[in-house]
């Protein structure tokens, strides 16, 4: 394997990791606030659809991006109403949201575009273009550093850079700000926050709001950055992989970055090679695709450290009698 192949695989890993980073960070905010969210998948999907649909009609990818975020926020709102206001089962709500997204996107896509549940292909200004960083072309010739800079670091769409910047931002927000302190408190012991005079409901809704925005970015990137248009079920389980990454990272921002890049790498490898031979054992492509799920199960089983979720996660907040 030469350097270029490695760089190409890593480059593709970063692109594939981007939607995972957004979605896993989305899950981080929600679950750190004590709201389980298995509806990441659905929110990605609606955002991917509406972003592509609006981008293709308006001709502007930025308008599309806003529309995608809006769609994701709407679904986040449903989850919020069900699990915060009406104190419903958060897992069931998440399942419902995933199905609602799967059905609605196709239904509306068919009604608007009549192309079998897809949007028209995006091109030009209705897609995110790669950004060439300064001196990328000039530096290509320098051995090692040149190709790494111009191929791997430069040449991604803006959302990729935003995703990577989102990780330290999320860390800072959660661990350095007053808002983060309250958000983490509400995920551990909502009564502590309530009796300290801060609204549990408001804090949780803000968390859900951030989750919605991040999922929106994730979905919009799928249809306008990674691909050129929406197709039925295009999130293809990425929401669940992001959830897996979140657990794998034990609900911590920097670990999320690592986990997502690892899972992105696995996908990049399985996209490029059908079978991989390691020590005379042939690993089929399906094995690579399954690896994120297997790793998550192993983490959950506590074979590599213990993943302890936020203590109040999944429980609706009622003042006890």
């Amino acid at each position: 394997m030469d350097l270029l192949t490695i760089i190409q695989i890593l480059d593709s890993s970063i692109r594939l990791a981007t939607p995972l980073i957004f979605a896993a960070l989305a899950g981080l905010f929600s679950e750190r606030a004590g709201i389980f969210d298995i509806g990441l998948e659905g929110k990605m999907l609606v955002s991917a659809f509406l972003a592509a649909a609006v981008a293709s009609t308006s001709g502007s990818v930025w308008v599309g991006l806003l529309a995608g975020v809006f769609a994701s926020l709407l679904f986040s709102g449903i989850h919020g109403v069900a699990s915060i206001t009406f104190r419903g089962n958060q897992l069931i709500s998440g399942v419902a949201i995933n199905f609602l997204a799967a059905g609605m996107t196709v239904l509306v896509a068919q009604s608007w575009f009549a192309q079998g549940g897809r949007t028209p292909s995006l091109s030009g200004a209705s897609r995110f273009d790669p950004i060439i960083l300064p001196f990328a072309n000039e530096l290509t010739r320098i051995p090692l550093i040149g190709p790494i800079y111009s191929e791997l670091i430069s040449g991604h769409t803006i959302l990729v850079y935003i995703a990577i910047l989102a990780v330290p931002s999320a860390w800072w927000l959660l661990f350095k700000t007053t808002f983060g302190l309250r958000l983490r408190a509400v995920g551990e012991n909502p009564e502590a926050l309530d009796t300290a005079g801060v609204s549990v409901i408001k804090t949780r809704y803000v968390a859900i709001l951030i989750c919605g925005i991040l999922c929106g970015l994730s979905g919009a990137y799928l249809s306008t950055g990674l691909s050129a248009g929406f197709v039925k079920d295009m999130s293809a389980g990425r929401g669940y992989i992001a959830l897996a990454a979140l657990i794998f990272a034990k609900w911590r921002p920097w670990y999320i970055l690592t986990a997502c890049i690892l899972f992105g790498l696995l996908e990049a490898i399985s996209n490029r090679y059908q079978n991989i031979e390691i020590l005379e054992i042939t690993l089929p492509v399906q094995f690579m695709q399954t690896l994120p799920y297997l790793l998550t199960v192993i983490i959950l089983a506590g074979f590599i450290g213990k993943a302890v979720p936020p203590k109040a996660g999944g429980q609706p907040y009622t003042k006890e009698r």
Binding site: F86, I92, S93, V95, A102, L107, S111, T296
Partner: protein, 364 residues
């Protein structure tokens, strides 16, 4: 204190939730420029207007009874088994292995063996998450989700690389032998002289599904195991106090749940396709969640909810045929049913309780 009388709890709330789901579905249909009433007409005609329609409706119903019961049994132990889909896929593998490995002299023997195969494979797929939950505290919801994906990959690999007959491009097994063919409702009815559509896939599995309803009812409310499962589901601490083993209940309830989900394969794999194809369960495992929620985890409720979803699935197929409404409408309805009967339960319950309280005050 219970504010609501039992009938309101069991009948009224699910019906109101259902009505709300349908109302919103109707709005969705209007929004995409179709007429909900004529859509309903097409669905009723298509699903219930002929023995052909009934045949498909009951075929789907059979799938949903199995998966609905699977989710229900787990619910009674407070386990949320989202893995019905993967367990049903594995059940299909069990059926295929049994049907392909032996030359069966009669369908009845094949059915018995295939049922065991389906249940064992399905149960096995539920057992691993259950074991991890019981001994290592891994959240069963997450592990069963992960196991759905792993199951899909496993089947994908086996169908592409192992089970596919040589020379075939189609990732599926070869057809099962004629002897393993299950009697369809058409064949069973023709013995007693009642005409029934020959093309419809409903088969003897439907009767097995009904038997499964009765057995689950007996299990949950009339056996010690059922008592233990319900005790554990209501209060883990009370179960410990009563000397009920946590591990035993998590394992057995999930084994039964997975077995039931796997058993679905005698209907779709053995009864209908008569070979194992890719993605054979077609989401029936997930519909089981909606069915169990709407049916309040009671076999009678599960039967009725499965029938409703059978109707929706067949009706939805007809709708896609005759109008521009895609079949995915059914997914939307399914999502809304899960949302309203499951997550938004309090949306209906709280106002209803207020109405009942004010009504009682007037009576006082």
């Amino acid at each position: 204190m219970d504010v609501l009388p039992k009938w309101a709890e069991v009948v009224l709330i699910p019906l109101i939730s259902l009505a709300l789901s349908f109302l919103i579905s109707a709005i969705v249909i209007i929004a995409i420029g179709e007429n909900p009433l004529s859509a309903l007409q097409i669905m009723v005609d298509g699903a219930l207007g002929s023995t052909y329609g009934w045949g498909y409706t009951l075929y789907y119903t059979t799938n949903f009874i199995f998966t609905g019961l699977a989710v229900s049994v787990a619910f009674h132990a407070k386990m949320f088994n989202i893995g019905g889909e993967g367990q049903a896929l594995l059940g299909g593998l069990g059926v295929a292995v049994i049907c392909l490995a032996f030359e069966w002299p009669h369908w009845s023997l094949a059915l018995i063996a295939a049922s065991f195969g389906a249940m064992i494979f399905g149960a096995f797929w539920a057992l691993i998450p259950a074991y991890l939950q019981a001994t290592r505290g891994s959240h069963i919801v997450i592990t069963t989700i992960m196991f759905n994906f792993i199951a899909a990959s496993v089947l994908n690999y086996l169908l592409v690389n192992v089970l596919r007959p040589e020379g075939s491009m189609d990732p599926a097994t070869r057809k099962f032998s004629e002897a393993a063919h299950l009697p369809t409702l058409h064949e069973m009815f023709s013995i007693i002289g009642i005409p029934f559509s020959k093309a419809a896939p409903v088969n003897i599995s439907f009767l097995i599904a009904i038997v499964a309803c009765i057995l689950v009812w007996l299990l949950i409310w009339h056996t010690r195991l059922g008592y233990e499962i319900r005790t554990f589901g209501h209060s883990e601490e009370a179960a410990q106090y009563a000397g009920i083993s946590t591990t035993k209940i998590i394992l057995t309830s999930m084994i039964i749940s997975g077995g039931l989900a796997g058993l679905m394969a005698i209907n779709n794999v053995m009864g209908e396709a008569e070979r194992l194809v890719m993605n054979a369960a077609e989401g029936a495992g997930f519909i089981g969640i909606a069915v169990a929620l709407m049916g309040r985890s009671h076999p009678v409720g599960v039967f009725l909810a499965a029938l409703l979803f059978g109707f929706l699935y067949q009706g939805g197929a007809e709708l896609a045929l005759w109008t521009s409404i895609p079949r995915d409408l059914i997914i939307v309805i399914q999502a809304l049913v899960i949302l309203f009967t499951g997550a938004l339960d309090n949306l209906v319950r709280i106002p209803l309780e207020k109405i009942f309280v004010s009504f009682q005050k007037k009576v006082d």
